[in-house]
Amino acid sequence: MSLKYLSGVTTLKLNPDKCTGCGMCVNVCPHAVFIIKTRKAAITDPDLCMECGACALNCSFEAITVKKGVGCAQAVRNGFLRGTEPDCGCGGDSSCC
């Protein structure tokens, strides 16, 4: 049984004009969001994206943008309480991730 998170929320964007079809995004995506179709990358199902940012960071042609972050309620709470960006605080003696 496959698990899928909320639909229509991802910030993932692919600019086909900049894409050269090198396939790096296909290599790094842990959820098979990308495929190569007619020598360009294409998004299969945007709802599968978890915004880890691997594709954008490894695209040397800057064809992909995504607002990277961790999908962690504790991190969002910490960020809200401290007035910072979401932070899971895993560097300290915490028990998450």
Binding site: L3, Y5, L57, N58, V70, V76
Partner: protein
């Protein structure tokens, strides 16, 4: 000084010292490793699971042996070295502050600069005759492969997600199949995370349950423990089968079901059952929402969206339940 090393020295935060030392390491998985892994899962002294960052030699590596990078978290490092039985390799352990590869990549400590620094300071350049480092695929959210190449001359190959696939990855000419590149979240992968959730919330809710029992509130004591188990154990165990996509909704459903089942053994008026249904579903929903952080497929945008709706709903349900429990008899 070569053009390559001049380039490296221009990087921020980089020191020029080159140690060229390495330690020998075995591929054996011992009873002590097993015990350490179990303790780490239960959060016992978990910051003690750091490996010394640097270069390790596994088997009898030569100048042409492959280089694999890992995090300085014992569970990550053990997964790598024990899956390389019979393979001679160099293992480059980055300083990720004792955090696993994926989480460290998320916060950038398993990252471009740390990898470049590590390649440089380990003296890898002098030890191997190739210019390639294989990374776990889940390091990719922190590492920009083309920048590492520009900084160090080493090209990055992303290996499989799971270290157990490395032998097959090597056998197929260092190509990860689509199956190797996918993160799974099956029952085994989910349930192994339950102890961390359980200890985290149990810290508050087990004492709460005991106090309720001491005050003679047997039903609420039991139902508090029920909400704890629903949010920390049932949610991971039954995740694909709980209704909806939202973790808050899935967890509320687990909490309501648990409350209903336990209430069968606790005779109470109907208004009290409704009140407790609201209270303990809200509690389980709050607890289970935190499993988003342990899951492998939730996005920040999604978590923010569901929290905006879930937190007020949980607070409202809790308040309504408490009012109903206190004043329900007058209705």
């Amino acid at each position: 000084m070569s053009a390559r090393s001049r380039k490296i020295l221009m990087m921020p935060g980089m020191t020029s010292s080159t140690t060229c030392g390495f330690e020998l390491i075995s591929a054996e998985y011992t009873g002590a490793d097993r015990l350490a892994a179990w303790k780490a899962r239960w959060g016992i002294n978990r910051m003690a699971y750091r490996i010394k960052p640097g270069l390790y030699a596994l088997g009898g590596p030569s100048a042409s042996s492959p280089v694999f990078a890992s995090a300085n978290y014992k569970l990550s490092f053990d997964a790598l070295r024990t899956n390389l039985k019979g393979i001679s390799a160099w293992l480059l352990v980055l300083d990720t502050k004792g955090i696993n590869v994926w989480c460290a990549a998320g916060k950038g400590t398993f990252g471009t600069l740390e990898l470049a620094r590590s390649i440089r300071e380990s003296g890898l350049e002098k030890l191997v005759n190739h210019r390639s480092v294989t990374l776990p695929q889940l390091g990719a959210p922190g590492v920009s492969a083309h920048r590492v190449k520009a900084y160090t001359g080493f090209s990055i190959t992303y290996g499989p997600v799971r270290a157990e696939d490395i032998p097959e990855f090597i056998a197929s000419g260092c190509k990860a199949s689509p199956e190797m590149r996918k993160v799974r979240f099956g029952f085994a992968e989910r349930i192994v995370l339950a102890p961390v959730q359980l200890t985290q919330f149990g810290r508050y809710l087990v004492p709460a349950s005991v106090i309720l029992l001491l005050f003679g509130l047997k039903a609420d004591s039991l139902l508090t423990a029920g909400a704890l188990l629903a949010g920390t154990v049932l949610v991971p165990a039954l995740l694909p089968w709980l209704p909806g996509r939202s973790f808050a909704v899935k967890s509320a459903a687990a909490g309501l079901a648990t409350t209903a089942v336990l209430s069968a053994f606790l005779p109470m008026p109907i208004y009290q059952f409704c009140a407790r249904g609201l209270i303990y579903s809200a509690a389980a929903s709050f607890i289970g929402l935190d499993f988003t952080g342990a899951s492998t497929y939730t996005s920040l945008s999604g978590v923010k969206k569901e929290m905006r709706a879930a937190l007020p709903a949980q607070a409202l349900a809790l308040l309504a339940g408490l009012l109903l429990l206190l004043f329900g008899r007058f209705l």
